[in-house]
Symmetry: D2
Subunit: 385 residues, 4 copies
């Protein structure tokens, strides 16, 4: 099982996590391990040399990786999102969308490369627009034999380390069209090292300045204007794929607290036991919620009921991670606040869960609207993507 | 599926719930529905005319019944516990325990009667002892051809309505032996109507005074002193079987709030949407936790890891039910506080979950002990059962 | 000190609270005690025979009364609101508002009667309009020598027992004018016994049907259209005067839990101690918040900063009461769920705090708006009063 | 008023806080400001050139300083503890304790030096013992004309910057005697830079190795074995003096969130308003609790009821700070997670409150014991100091 492989790697990630966190540097060795393990091919169909995993498999892997290092798992999540979304464009769907044959060839080529050890980052967010595709300021223009893309991206996890980047941009000719490109690492992309954050410090989510010319095959789907369609087909990759990571972080916090309490012989304190007991139950419930959402994504991706599970997973995972990490630090006591103590890092990492889009407050609103028979997609004035 | 049958009955229960709650009277009509539906045979093996359900099937049924009326579901839970535990004494287990053949005949006879429409209550708890078998004050003595049982029981749900009662008692000859008897309704059992509680008012959990002579077949297992063995084999029936009921109550609260908010056209209030959204996610997570625990009970009953899931389920269900019902009442507003409004009842019913043994605080402690590598069974001075 | 007198009465209220709650009947004997104690004159200036208390004195009294019986304290709160608001119309203010001399005579007459043992209820809320003056449907018309008032009121605490009722109504001639009348008990007011609620059952907050002719002196202020002015001058009586009651209820819950735990000898349970300790601190903090708001109301009534304290008091008191009562019931265990146990009642009574207007959710929003430099009064579309 | 002076300094502290936090270096400039302001003499009687402040004055100052920089306020707190405790040894008390005249001279000399710009740190905690005086491993021996003190201290805020250090040590000759010395900065104290923590990074709470000879005047009180007596006389300096700091941190978090939300124009988001509104009320309630405890410390230091308020203040301040900072970060969104953003630091700083002794869990237990009529001092096996 793919999750077993991830579980095997996690202790190595744990051993390195403190240092990557301290320096805020990219987990190069973790990614070397991932490459060797073949997990870059996790979402790649077996016919292209991959593991042919579904979303539930992914969630199980992400949870285990995050028990090792949440930041590593978050960057991996981006790669999984790209390869997962590409794999989701089946031949049938391609046919239905009227995609040209070259697009399928490009898709296969990107996926095959992933199975062989390439990995992809996502350069989607922009200052101001966040990750809303409809507000992207990055522009592209057709050239003789490809596209010229220009703009600035932010929060690009793994920037400077990926083999290629998924870049969303708007057509200069027809601003209503937002397209996605897979841009190879190289001269046209320059990294501005802006990432220096409270938690998840090792994701290297720096700014990326894009001024690059790519050939036709870089246009995902081979047809312009597909970005919004894909976002609506696969909201789980934009909302819920983080969720498994944060449950893994929460479980790591419980584990670290248990280890700390045992080492300090504090088991006799009832308040400590109660904190750990309640945290254990909360993490277990959140884990089930994420796995159920993932299962449903595999069964009926994009369905209204699936999306509700996706939002539930995001909401429960984010709130649980922050609450659990805070309580575990309180269970462990002041000595766990020293930098270098796993709980010190996990407390910071865990806080990010609720804030990553869709935030906990947004998920709560969407769930409320849906429970009340409304459609969150048509709610309010701001477009969701 | 058995849960479908329960789902079919729930709306009828809803329609009657207010009145049973108001008067604190036993839900006679709900039980007539249950009898007709065949659900008394839920836990009875098919070879004896029953539905042959497992614990997970039971949990699904209990959840649906509780969406109708939590009190009805709680009484049903007691019957399911008795029949479930009886069914759990398989021929193999009976052999291993050295049970006499007559005990198996009696077992089959009780189970067949259940499939035919009899239902059983549990007269276990005593004032002071709670439900701890090791502290039972009710005594029994051997007579020429049976037993004479004498004592007082409390919190006996369905008292005065069941066809027979599971009575735990201690041997007068050898106080170390605690046995369980199935005592038919009749003269030796007198009901003292003491039940008048905040919530779950329709369970009729009155006191029962026992002064009765029963024949040999009433001794469950046919051998004295088995009560503790059974409790340890099947802790799920003593701890977790309530859990599904309280998740059903919590879901009913969300449903009632949605109905109320829609009727009053309050959907535009962001605070109301946020409350409903968060409640929806919390109930979904609790539901999954209960179902996972139930699944594991079927797979590996009594295992250490199964027991942890059982405690998680009880803890999460109890806390979620109380929190969700309180928040839903706040979402609905003062008009939902009128007696007769579903949320008014559900708020009271939901509070009982954390307090039923094992309480939330106890489950948290056990989970903490287990996470810290300890054994909750050997913890502290008080015996658990 | 007036609070001492209230503290003296509280144990008597406690002794009667269970029965008034059970039957949902008005606390006649508590009110006889209040009359004898002179507390009906609490807010009446000393020159008119009263105690000349300020808002902080009132809050201290309300807290103590509520430790006895929250319902009694809530009804008393209505009387205090009427007499407090009347006393707040000083001669200077009357002059500034251009009130006629007869209005001041009427004011003094009503206040003197209160000091002599009369008490007043409030018939403000209407179905649909809530307590928003701007949406009142009750109408009045001028007659030869007075007014004819006609309409239906709801949530009138103490209905059928008060000596007179403050009735808000809209002018039939000029619907923009909302006026308040003090209508003597009698034929023109008929009580419809609709109050049958989860908590605060003894307030007798029934519906009142008004079809009555009153003389000129009944018009408070002697000038039509003053209702909104008064509401804006004294928002504390419409928002915060409940707050002290709910802190008293919360403290009563802690006291009842302590008594229960001591009687059952459960002090050795760490989870019980932790619950009581946290509840004790929360109630203490809420109490201070209410008293600070009250102090500021006396110093600078209606000021922006005073109003923020009023909302803080309402929010903190309401949420604390509900949380504390729920936790105390959990600390005490199942036996405290029996009807007749103080905690059973207090759990229900406490829930009402957050729901009474302004609700906790509304207070949170107003406080957020104010913190962000906005003016909650001009926020949104719905008028506040 | 002394708090005004602190309020005047706070904005300067804010401006420097990010950098001191980033580098984990001691806030040298803040302390220069404090020296110039005369606040080192805050707790020094006016007859010795100080400000003659009481505990409530201190709490008001600490709150304002912490709105600037919590770490600066925490170090200042240590100095205030030393000077406050010294000032608390009045001539009357000295007489009652039988202190020698030289001790009073030494006291006055230390206090006069503080008023003139010296400040004192506390070297109390030890690894393993925490701050429990009864378990100190640091030893002292009498020498010809003084004492030789030897041992290792941890968590010494301001280590390397103070003019003298309060060192607790146990008599080698009679281990039952624990004494306190004021040791001048210099050769006998060596700083091991161990402090590198999640939050409150600028306190420089490093380890201090003590191997020093001091003269007679260094022995506080002039009599050996007084440390425990003082601890019991002034528990507020060991428990509650942090509380004001953490409420200041919490208020700073609300202020920072308001500033962030206004700058980003997010006021229209209801979830943001609700978070800020609830946080504002919680901080206000916590602030009142701390000020009430401080007021009572001035009125009746060491009384049982005063101590309860001290524990309440510590509990409410610690939990409020952590909860509020977490929620404010969630209100502000991902951009506030960047290092250098005030909320990023405040989230880390705020977490320390509940963990500093007495921890929130310990305070809750003590409060529970006290509410149940017990005496927390005689509770359990572990000595409190």
């Amino acid at each position: 099982m793919t999750a077993d492989e991830a579980r095997r790697l996690a202790p190595r990630f744990v051993a390195r996590a403190t240092e990557y966190d301290r320096t805020g540097s990219f987990p190069v060795e973790d990614f070397a391990d991932l490459r060797r393990s073949g997990l870059f091919g996790l979402m790649v169909p077996t016919r292209l040399g991959g593991m042919g995993a579904g979303f539930a498999d992914y969630a199980a892997v992400a949870y285990e990786l995050a028990r090792g290092n949440g930041a590593t798992a978050l960057v991996f999540n981006m790669h999984a999102s790209v390869t997962g979304a590409l794999s989701g464009v089946t031949d049938e769907l391609a046919d239905a969308l009227g995609l040209p044959p070259e697009a399928l060839e490009a898709r296969d080529s990107y996926l095959r490369a992933a199975a062989e050890g390439n990995w992809y980052a996502v350069a989607m967010s922009e200052r101001g627009a966040g990750s809303r595709l409809s507000e992207m300021a990055t522009r592209y223009e057709r050239t003789a034999d490809g596209f010229h893309i220009k703009g600035a991206k932010t929060f690009c996890s793994g920037a400077g380390h990926a083999d290629a980047y998924l870049v969303a941009a708007r057509s200069a000719a027809d601003p209503s069209q937002v397209s996605q490109f897979l841009v190879p690492a190289g001269d046209g992309l320059s990294i501005e090292p802006t990432w220096d954050a409270l938690g998840m410090r090792a994701t290297g989510s720096h700014d990326v300045h894009v001024d690059v010319v790519v050939d036709e095959t870089a246009l995902l789907g081979g047809v312009e204007g597909l970005a919004l369609v894909v976002a609506q087909l696969a909201p789980h990759w934009m909302v819920a794929s983080y969720a498994a990571v944060y449950v893994g972080v929460a479980r790591a916090a419980v584990d670290a607290a248990v280890e700390h309490v045992e080492a300090r012989k504090l088991e006799h304190l009832p308040a400590v036991r109660a904190r750990i007991g309640r945290a254990d139950a909360a993490v277990a419930a959140a884990h089930l919620t994420v796995m159920e959402a993932a299962r449903r994504v595999d069964e009926a991706p994009g369905d209204a009921e699936t999306n509700r599970w996706v939002w539930r997973a995001k909401l429960v995972a984010g709130t649980t991670a922050a609450d659990v990490a805070a309580s575990m630090l309180e269970a462990a006591g002041t000595s766990a606040m020293r930098r270098g103590h796993p709980l010190e890092r996990l407390y910071r990492d865990a806080r990010a869960g609720s804030l990553q889009p869709a935030t906990s407050d947004v998920c709560a609103d969407w769930l409320g609207v849906a429970a009340l028979g409304g459609d969150p997609d048509s709610q309010g004035t701001a477009p969701r993507w």
